[in-house]
Amino acid sequence: MTSGGAQVNIVFAGLGGQGVLKASDIAADAAFRSGFDVKKSEIHGMSQRGGSVSSDVRFGRLVHSPMVPPGEADFLVVIAPDQVEVNRWQLRAGGVLIAPASVDQRALANKKTLNVALLGLLSTFVEIPEERWLEAVRANVPERFLDANLAAFALGRQAAHTEVME
């Protein structure tokens, strides 16, 4: 667990349509269910048309600003491989990058669940119980895609045992 400190800063990034906002909603919900103060912010609008999207989640005992200050993300979760470099500046020194290459994408039955697979990996780093994560996934994913998303989440958690990217 790298999060030990007072507040955890996570930036989610990717392209419109990849589930960036869904991933940040699930993470914020999981932190909320764990009793933390949480703030989540996002920029959407033109992003619906395949442009860059990003969303910040911050949790801890008390959170003021909903935005992660530039260069202060503890975790950067990027869903589009080509968005890794343009977002790297958000990460603090020693922060953890979680990118598509961090999980075995071939093992994903449904490619659209990559966002949740990356959450599975993220979940191994932060002090949120697995059960809260699963509750949050259930609450934020439509019934008919639930099994695929739970499988993706489990796959992401597995990835933590095999490889950790920095």
């Binding site: 949480v38 912010s41 600003s65 500046w89």
Partner: protein, 536 residues
């Protein structure tokens, strides 16, 4: 709901929830990021919510409801208030009988807007009280308070939100019990108060100023302004989202966080400023607060001009406090948005590009026609401007260029403010004629697929009266009206455009093909309609 009775909600959802808990009888508005979700959430919560054709009509509907003693909510993005400004200024004179809360959702940094105007100026200019929440809890609480103040002083009240309040989620404890019972709804005649002919408007203006003076006193004594403990070497005066950035950037500073920023609690601010060694105003956008405080003789520091532009965040506030004016590192550019592959607008822009048209454009998904690979849209100013500007270009340009001018407008935007432009085309036609293309994709795609009068469905997708563009154009006397699907035969579409450009008369082409992302849902709704009423 968590065990401690809290929920995680966005600022938009918080306003909707408070409106519902406070018994708001009618929510009306016009879609626009970042305000759109308020009415959608209000409707989902069981409130009566409706989209108006534009913000001016929305505000007028809300004023009518508030004249009937009801509690009314009207929502719009910042530029929407420009459209609604005419009724706003005079509704401040008439006042209301029930409650009227006007939500203005500003977009500093222009995440999805054509400008970053600071609508705090409107509260001052119109003379209406203004609340500025900084998170979802305050968005919820201040909505209640806005209703209370509106009812008590019988004035419209502005709830000024910004993108990061609207679209940020934070922890919120709903308090439905704090809502006073809504008053009974009925009409009581009062021509003197509601008919703003000069003889009635003159005393009304004086009444407005007297109310504002009373509200300023209330704000001093019981407004939602909080002093946060801190060292007296640095004091910060702030409001809205800027206040939470500032609290984080300077946790040890004393802070006066203003929840109601018009009319300002000037005595409280003056006392605070005297109690600290250095007093800095942290505000996003224009230096409005700092100038108002200085004008009142309060010694405060503002921010360097470079921080007028864009959003604030924690590190920018740190820089302001340090007086740092060194250039800021620009983040690497992300991927720009583009028209979806298969978007029906693409065929139209391909034709306009091939014909080398001068395109007076408008606001919507189709504004992306200005970017590569088309670069076939030459102007975007405000909603509805395509038609008037196209006509102006035609009037002024030499004939060979004038004949290449086309106005292009979305279906939603045409309803919003394009109809009067078409009337102008009939009334003052350019000698070369003109061509208007209405991009009828069956939805308000840009803001997230809202219905509008041209779709014939209400906010919650029920069937209702429908505006038919070609019928309207014909009834106005437009001599050449065409309805085509531009994707079916792109070549024929291009020929039709070329032919219209040759005519010396007004032509309208309704380019009808549903937005790719909305098609599935529209088909489902139509299927459901047929199931309900099979013979049609």
């Amino acid at each position: 709901m968590r065990a401690d009775d809290t929920i995680l909600a966005s600022g938009d959802e918080a306003v909707a929830l408070a409106a519902r808990h406070a018994g708001v009888a009618l929510g009306t508005g016009y879609p626009g990021t970042p305000s759109t979700e308020i009415l959608e959430a209000f409707s989902e919560l069981g409130g009566r919510a409706q989209w108006a054709p534009n913000e001016k009509v929305a505000l007028e509907v809300a004023i009518g409801a508030a004249f009937a003693n009801a509690r009314a909510l009207v929502t719009m993005k910042h530029v929407g208030l420009n459209v609604a400004a005419d009724p706003l200024f005079t509704a401040a004179y008439t006042g209301v009988s029930g409650a009227l809360v006007v939500v203005s959702a500003d977009d500093p940094g222009m995440a999805s807007s054509q400008n970053e105007q600071d609508n705090r100026h409107y509260a001052v200019a119109a003379g209406i009280p203004m609340f500025e929440p900084s998170d979802s809890q305050e968005a919820y609480d201040f909505t209640f308070q806005a209703i209370e103040i509106s009812e008590r002083w019988k004035l419209p009240v502005m709830l000024r939100l910004t993108t990061r309040v609207c679209h940020s989620k934070s922890v919120l404890r709903p308090r439905p019990a704090q809502a006073p019972e809504p008053p009974p709804v009925s009409y009581s005649k009062n021509i003197r108060l509601r008919v703003m002919i000069p003889s009635n408007a003159r005393p009304a203006h004086r009444r407005l100023r007297a109310k504002l003076a009373e509200i300023a006193q209330w704000n001093e004594a019981s407004g939602p302004n909080r002093e946060l403990e801190g060292e007296r070497s640095l004091g910060i005066v702030s409001s809205g989202i800027a206040a939470v950035h500032a609290r984080e950037a300077a946790p040890h500073a004393a802070m006066l966080k203003l929840g109601m920023t018009y009319p300002l609690p000037l005595q409280a601010v003056a006392a605070f400023a005297r109690s600290v060694q250095r007093c800095v105003v942290i505000e996003e956008g224009d230096p409005w607060l700092v100038e108002a405080l200085r004008a009142a003789g309060i010694a405060v520091e503002g921010k360097p001009e470079m921080y007028r532009f864009g959003e604030l965040n924690v590190s920018r506030v740190r820089r302001i406090l340090e007086g740092d004016v060194s250039p800021e590192a620009a983040p690497p550019p992300g991927k720009p948005p583009e028209l979806c592959a298969g978007c029906p607008h693409r065929s139209v822009f391909q034709a306009l590009k091939n014909l080398d048209c001068i395109v007076a454009g408008d606001i919507g998904c189709y504004s992306l026609g200005a970017l590569a690979p088309f670069e076939a849209l030459d102007t975007v100013v405000c909603m509805g401007a395509a038609i008037g500007m196209g006509l102006g270009l035609r009037h002024a340009l030499p004939e060979d260029q004038a004949r290449r001018v086309v106005s292009v407008i979305g279906d939603g935007t045409f309803v919003h403010s394009g109809i009067t432009g078409l009337v102008e085309a009939i009334y003052n036609p350019p000698s070369t004629g003109h061509l208007l293309i209405i991009l009828d994709n069956g939805t308000t795609a840009m803001t997230g697929m809202q219905e509008h009068p041209g779709t014939g469905r209400t906010l919650n997708h029920q069937r209702t009266g429908k505006l038919v563009f070609e019928d309207l154009a014909r009834s106005l006397g437009v001599p050449s009206v065409h309805v085509v699907d531009p994707t079916l035969n792109p070549r024929a579409f291009e020929e039709l455009v070329a032919e219209c450009l040759k005519r010396r008369e007004i032509s309208v082409i309704v380019a009808r093909r549903t937005c790719l992302l909305a098609t599935g849902r529209i088909k489902e709704m139509e299927k459901a309609d047929r199931a309900v009423c099979p013979v049609e």
